[in-house]
């Protein structure tokens, strides 16, 4: 099943990572105004003739591909070509960026002020910047940052401006447009706006994709978008969205450019600005609408300390090298290239795999703070821990994480006690240290002390804390899945453990970033890592727990426990309470109510089951496994539950029945 070469390639520890520079340091020592008015002469794509935003629009509107779709739409709808053309122009007007240097300079000035008051430092890997500069010169570049905060894209442009790199144009959601003034400011700094959904709108799609492709083909500016599509509320990476990635790959696949460089960027925050907001959102409090007044109200965040943030520009990935041997580009030879076509299955799966690969690269280069290790223990000990014990455990986990290849920013030459307590004090809104006991803080619910209100406040702080634990999950995910598999399978036989592993992997593939079709590789990697840290011995036919594994493995199991429980709760709800008229819309509130009931009854301890993110993911998994089906009725979507399947899934997750082929087959 495994070969040695796979191990050595996959060994994450071997990966050399670059050093960081704090870009705020200079800002604290010299004039922001002068910085904002500095001479800005970025290196451009080779041979590029720069193009003004207005010119860009003209090129797009006159492009063969858009003209083709316009005449098609006109023929289908019966509207005149001129009318459709106007419609297209209007769409483009709504979408297009109007980047201008003066606005960028304005942002450079104000953001300098803002960042200095928010963050202790903003650390950037300068080697990554150099690689990016090289990449921008050679090929069209796509910047793919992780998305944890609204700060992300402001920060990206800010950094690129600081290092004199070509400013990116950024795909942003239409929500920002509704913000008076701010939307337009963002547009003038390089954002372009796309509607959240435009499924069937051919014309919209054509304008949008041609707009992006024109920028890319000519290499006018790097294109920046978020693979995850939206901010992750849980700090776990989200399943990548493929639409834009499909679009930016097309010019290469059609031979219009020699290559495209994809640059994954990992942005990590020691403290996320939106942490409490996210937790509330996950518990069903609607997200505040983006508005300028909302933004102004949020200015109190400036009085708080958000620690440091790290931005890691990853190795540029050449689409050409990725496609080598996977894609037969000759497929595009037989139809004129301006005629839009659905991607082939080959291309589709290629883009999908690439997307996962890129998200994993983002994860791997995410800088982890000691706090995320502390949060991991706090989430396993909700009732609180001794400080000394916490320090000891954190150090143990630090070493384990390092041996698994985590990108840990643990200060040198500082006692571990100091490291832990300074982390705790930065997050004093979440934890309290009282008489040597560390525990999660729960804000006092206002007014009536109903058990529901109390639970809500507990959940808010638990989910906030969980979001930090989630940052480190990707490091432990595969070994943890193996640990659970070994525990559930209750055997040492490798094939059975693998069956169980692969079952869990399958169930959780909406929850975590698990590249499709790589079960064997993941299993090998998990085995390798656990063997390396001495937790298991891998034999020809079996996986055996060692003495030190008796500590490591239960810890890893405990890490996944909340998710196992959460999925079981969803299953139980579907088996016990769901009726035939359960609509998709009602699903989340209903599960939440069910979970609250269990919590109050004391039969459920973990808070993740209350999170809408987990509930959504669980539903997606059940749909994928055909245990639940969507049925469209007149005005709503009803969920049809196959109770037998859901029940057996729940039992398997709970370890009540072994994973066996028949069970899988039935699913």
């Amino acid at each position: 099943m495994a070969s040695k070469s796979v191990y050595s390639q996959r060994d994450p520890v071997l990966k050399k990572r670059d050093d960081f520079e704090d870009i705020l340091e200079e800002r604290r020592n010299s004039s922001d105004l002068r910085y904002a008015f500095k001479c800005y002469t970025p290196v451009l794509y080779k041979g590029l003739v720069p193009c003004k935003p207005a010119m860009l629009k003209t090129i797009v509107l006159q492009s063969d591909s858009l003209q083709h779709v316009i005449s098609q739409v006109s023929a289908e709808s019966g509207e005149s070509v001129e009318l459709v053309q106007e419609e297209a122009a209007a769409i483009l007007e709504e979408m297009a960026h109007r980047q201008q240097l003066s606005t960028v300079r304005f942002f450079a000035f104000t953001l300098s002020k803002a960042f200095k008051s928010l963050f202790r430092s903003v650390c950037v890997n300068e080697e990554g910047i150099q690689r990016l500069q090289q990449a921008i010169h050679e090929h069209p570049v796509v910047l793919l940052p992780s998305h944890r905060s609204y700060m992300d894209f402001l920060m990206m442009s800010y950094i690129l401006y600081t290092y004199d790199l070509t400013l990116p144009v950024i795909a942003a959601g239409m929500d920002f447009m509704s913000m008076k003034f701010v939307g337009e400011m963002l547009r003038m700094s390089g954002a372009f706006f796309i509607r959240r959904s435009f499924g069937g709108d051919k014309l919209y799609w054509a304008v949008f994709s041609e707009y992006v492709k024109t920028i890319l083909r000519n290499g006018y500016s790097p294109i920046e978008f978020f693979l995850e599509g939206t901010r992750s509320r849980t700090s776990k990476s989200l399943t990548p969205k493929l639409g834009l990635l499909n679009i930016v790959m097309e010019p290469f696949l059609k031979g219009e450019v020699f290559d495209v460089s994809l640059v994954p960027v990992s942005i990590s925050y020691e403290r996320v600005l939106e942490e409490a907001l996210y937790a509330r959102e996950l518990l069903g409090v609607p997200k505040p609408k983006e508005s300028t007044s909302g933004l102004l109200k949020a200015r109190r965040i400036f009085s708080e300390d958000y620690g440091s943030m790290h931005v890691y520009f990853g190795q540029p990935v050449s689409v050409r090298s990725l496609a080598q041997g996977r894609i037969n580009r000759a497929h595009y030879n037989l139809v004129p290239r301006h005629i839009p076509r659905k991607p082939t299955n080959e291309a589709q799966s290629f883009v999908n795999d690439t997307a996962y690969q890129l998200v994993r690269m983002q994860e791997e280069n995410m800088v982890l703070k000691p706090w995320v290790l502390i949060a991991t223990f706090l989430m396993q000990n909700l009732e609180g821990m001794e400080l000394s014990q916490l320090v000891e455990q954190t150090v143990w986990l630090r070493d384990l994480a390092r041996s698994f290849g985590a990108f840990l920013d643990w200060p040198d030459h500082t006692s571990s006690m100091k490291v832990v307590s300074s982390s705790l004090s930065l997050h004093c809104n979440l934890v309290s240290v009282c008489e040597g006991q560390v525990r999660l803080l729960v804000a006092a619910a206002q007014g009536c002390e109903s058990p529901e209100a109390l639970l809500f406040e507990q959940a808010v702080s638990a989910l906030s804390c969980a979001s930090y634990r989630n940052q480190v999950l990707h490091v432990f995910l595969r070994p943890a899945l193996l640990a659970v598999a070994m525990h559930t399978a209750a055997t040492q036989r490798k094939d059975e453990v693998y069956n169980c592993f692969s079952f869990l992997r399958n169930v959780f593939s909406n929850e975590f970033i698990l590249c499709p079709g790589e079960a064997v590789q993941d299993f090998d990697e998990a085995c390798y890592l656990l063997m390396k840290c001495g937790a298991v011995q891998i034999l020809q036919q079996g996986v055996v727990t060692t003495e030190s594994g008796r500590v490591t493995l239960p810890f890893l199991c405990a890490m996944l426990e909340p998710f196992l429980q959460g999925y079981q709760v969803v299953c139980r709800y579907l088996c016990e309470e769901a009726n035939d008229n359960l609509t998709e819309k009602l699903f989340i509130p209903a599960v939440r109510t069910f979970a609250v009931k269990l919590h109050l009854a004391g039969s459920l301890r973990c808070y993740e089951a209350l999170s809408s993110d987990l509930q959504k993911n669980a539903l997606a998994a059940l749909l994928r496994l055909n245990a639940v089906k969507k049925v469209k009725t007149a005005d709503q979507v009803v969920l049809k539950v196959n109770k037998l399947a859901v029940n057996s899934l729940e039992d398997t997750l709970g370890g009540k029945i072994p994973t066996q082929k028949p069970v899988l087959a039935r699913l």
Partner: protein
């Protein structure tokens, strides 16, 4: 001007009458000839005929290089002063000095005149493996009186074409499988006899025309265990008749391009088929590879030029029963022959279209600010269907290359003029020296029409920012194609190896394909450890209604590489893959041979390949024509 035209017309009729009269006078002799038609070839072959225009002797190595391109007396070299010169007397460049070639050569390749990589001095017959003869076949062949040879140098000469790896191996003194003997049939009937004997004794036949293949088509398959006989068609080189009423000529297929053209010119005609290799390549070879000529815009490619083909196959002779200009008789059987690359039989005689020699020829050239503009102009010219006899667009690198071949200027005045031109184009018109590119043009026809045509083309060019740049530049551009192969030998003396290859591609992909293939070459060289950036350049050499033919040159300095040949082969392979991925064809006119065989299925689909296979199966079930090209 009108009187001029009239007088030339008068001249022509006069000449024609003279020829007819001469014909009348010779009549009894000709009648004699037809009487002994069955014996025709033998009689001819046994006679030593000094008038016979035979520029290709049986022992080709006497006038041609055995390990390089072309005539032995013509080669580039760097003289003691370090200046490049071209020896011999055959070409316009011959005997001239090219002062800027050295700098270009050293600058482009990072080569150094101190670092030489000389070829193995002479062919040592001892290293050529002894022939594997089929004795019975040899005996019976002897009885027919058809000349043949088993000499090592004759066999060696026919064991290769002109791919880089073939020439490189010769220079290094490595020899692979050789043909075991060479036969020189004198006519169609000789070929029939040879093929019959080969079938009877199961001998492998490999037709050999001009030997200019660049597709490994002439490489003997190493797995072939039978005796391999190279069938050299060079002695079948007569024009059998000219039909002035229908404007056709019936020609033996071994004739080489320059002889065919010269002989027809003597009668006031031409075929107009001028592939770059026409000094050496043969009519039969053109048919077998689907050749294309520089002036195809007026005269057409080989498939447009042939009216009738006679080919000897193991199943017998294939030919059509009439010479009608077009037929609807099922799929055209000529198209099984055209491009068959010697896998089905030997083309022995061809009836070709001929045209009166054009009255007037004029070269021209246009400078464009960049390659995109140039391609756009060529596209427009093709759209308006007003392409001159030839129109080619060189990219910037090739433009500079061409400039490096400028011979020493004779007077201060010319050099002053050159300086002025350069100033005008780069400073006054603002063309970037590292962007501009040149189209070379050749017009043909009556004088008036040529001038009119010229104006039309220059007007179109002006719309795309093109500036007329004189006849001289144009002519030099065409000369480049004849000497480029000689230049490769020069490079190989100094650690530089290179090759050219071609493709055809739809108009909308021309630019993308050129850019991507050139860049792929650069990138592959870098990845394979080539120390210095390679020369990677292209030109658009033919225009069609729906696309263009693109020609690439690439060359690099291989100092410091342990296995340069392998690196070169990998880069060439990668470049071909890039072409195919960008919508280019496997070949426009070089053919497939064995070099590009692996992509045939992808190119014509497996059903298509099956069709070709089944034809081969029927025509040549015992694989007598066993060069294993194409399929």
């Amino acid at each position: 001007m009108a009187s001029n035209g009239k007088s030339s017309e008068r001249q022509r009729t006069a000449q024609q009458r003279l020829r007819i009269i001469a014909g009348h006078l010779r009549k009894p002799e000709e009648a004699d000839h037809t009487e002994i038609a069955a014996q025709e070839c033998k009689a001819e072959s046994s006679r030593t005929n000094p008038e016979k225009p035979n520029s290709m002797p049986k022992r080709r190595q006497e006038i041609m290089k055995w390990n390089g391109w072309g005539y032995s007396d013509s080669r580039f070299l760097f003289n003691k002063k370090g200046q490049a010169e071209f020896t011999g007397k055959r070409y316009r460049l011959s005997g001239l000095i090219m002062p800027s070639l050295k700098d270009w050569f050293e600058g482009t390749f990072g080569a150094n005149l101190q670092h030489k990589s000389p070829a193995a001095p002479a062919l040592n017959a001892g290293v050529v493996p002894p022939p594997n003869l089929n004795e019975v076949f040899v005996e019976e062949l002897k009885a027919t009186g058809i000349p043949f040879s088993q000499d090592a140098d004759d066999r060696m000469f026919r064991a290769h074409g002109h791919c880089l790896h073939e020439i490189f191996a010769l220079r290094e003194g490595h020899f692979g499988r050789c043909p075991d003997m060479v036969v020189w049939p004198n006519c169609h009937n000789d070929v029939v006899k040879i093929v019959e004997l080969a079938c009877k004794h199961n001998v492998c036949l490999m037709p050999y025309g001009g030997g200019t293949s660049v597709s490994s088509a002439l490489e003997c398959p190493p797995e072939e265990t039978r005796s391999i006989v190279s069938l050299d068609t060079s002695q079948m080189n007569r024009i059998l008749w000219i039909d002035e009423k229908n404007l056709t000529a019936h020609v033996e297929a071994g004739i080489i391009g320059q002889d065919l053209e010269r002989l027809l010119n003597e009668s006031g005609y031409c075929t107009g088929h001028e592939p770059d290799s026409m000094e050496f390549s043969s009519l039969g070879g053109w048919v077998a590879t689907r050749a294309s000529g520089m002036k195809k815009n007026i005269y057409g490619n080989i498939e447009d030029l042939v009216v009738h083909i006679k080919m000897v196959t193991p199943r017998g002779v294939i030919e059509k029963s009439c010479q009608g200009p077009r037929m609807s008789t099922g799929p055209d059987v000529h198209h099984f022959i055209l491009g068959s690359e010697g896998t089905l039989g030997v083309v022995t005689e061809v009836t070709m279209k001929i045209r009166p020699i054009p009255e007037y020829q004029k070269y021209g050239s246009v400078v464009f600010p960049n390659f995109q503009q140039g391609v756009a102009c060529l596209r427009e010219v093709a759209k308006q269907r007003c392409a001159p006899a030839s129109i080619r667009l060189m990219d910037n690198e090739q433009f500079k290359f061409g400039h490096a071949l400028k011979p020493q200027v004779s007077s201060i005045f010319t050099s002053f003029l050159d300086g002025l031109k350069k100033f005008y184009i780069t400073k006054f018109k603002g063309f970037d020296q590292d962007q501009l590119c040149v189209a070379t043009l050749l017009f043909e026809g009556d004088r008036e029409k040529v001038l009119q045509h010229e104006k039309q083309v220059y007007d179109i060019a002006a719309k795309f920012g093109g500036l007329a740049a004189g006849e001289d530049n144009g002519q030099r551009g065409y000369m480049l194609t004849f000497v480029i192969a000689y230049l490769r030998d020069l490079g190989m003396d100094y650690y530089v190896i290179g090759e050219s290859f071609e493709t055809s591609v739809p108009w909308d992909r021309v630019l993308d394909l050129c850019r991507n293939v050139k860049e792929r070459i650069v990138r592959e060289c870098k990845e394979k450890g080539v120390q210095f950036p390679p020369l990677s350049t292209c030109r658009v050499t033919q225009t069609y209604d729906v696309g263009a033919c693109v020609y690439f040159y690439f060359a690099f300095n291989y100092r410091g590489l342990s296995d340069p040949l392998n690196v070169y082969l990998q880069v060439e392979h990668a470049a071909r893959e890039e072409i195919l991925a960008n919508g280019g064809s496997l070949s426009h006119h070089h053919g497939v041979g064995k070099l590009r065989k692996e992509w045939m299925q992808e190119s014509v689909s497996s059903v298509g390949l099956g069709m070709l296979r089944s034809v081969k199966e029927y025509v040549d079930p015992d694989n007598i024509f066993g060069n294993r090209n194409l399929l």
